[in-house]
Symmetry: C2
Subunit: 116 residues, 2 copies
Amino acid sequence: MTLDELKAFVSIAESGSFTNASTQLHRSQPAISRRIDLLEDELGAPLFERQGRNVILTAAGEALLPHAQTVLAAVRDGQRAVEKLNENSREVLSIAVVGTIADSYLVEALRAFQVE
Amino acid sequence: MTLDELKAFVSIAESGSFTNASTQLHRSQPAISRRIDLLEDELGAPLFERQGRNVILTAAGEALLPHAQTVLAAVRDGQRAVEKLNENSREVLSIAVVGTIADSYLVEALRAFQVE
DNA sequence: TAATATTACGTATTACGTAAAGATT
DNA sequence: AATCTTTACGTAATACGTAATATTA
């Protein structure tokens, strides 16, 4: 089991589709599909019922979801805890772009990056 | 961040050395060393103070440890939750060995395998 | 010098994305 | 037909172990 697999699983469960999860996680759809495929293999049980458009959690999926969410939350908490200690020693990142981009795409790109 | 990195980190913290962790996790020492190296890079902070023989947690390591333990516990809980649902449909694994081994190594090997 | 951690490096595994196919409404 | 998921597959990244190199008691 890997964190990427759990991220994919939770994202699908919360967003309702593989496609939504793929955009949330900045991956292609097949990449998400593979992660779930592997996770289901490891666990020996299907996690979603694929009924055409809508994706529904199986019993195994329902059983796993809260634990998976706990895992991801604990990972975030751990990262934040270390970040707090690093606050004193921040680093500088310089970004150089051509002027025409600075006003248009750059702002949006930085915003999207920050969200992650 | 990956689960293997967290496993290595927790194992070292709990066992007191990279070497102990490497045997616990059935990996070579360099593999463990590399996992920690990567984890420290990602977090931007050292997790252990390497003072010769004994390995001590840094402030960042202390901050991370409880969260990492939570992560690993939640992973185990999730696996168990799904396993419970699978209990009805167990599978059979047949193992064939030469007779002389059956009495000596096999028992120990199965015990070691089960512990994981 | 004995025990431990880190580099170096070659091989094997795994992961991604694109493209194509399958399936469902 | 349109939307979504899965296969197939080639390339790129990652992980492991062995061997060699520090480093410390």
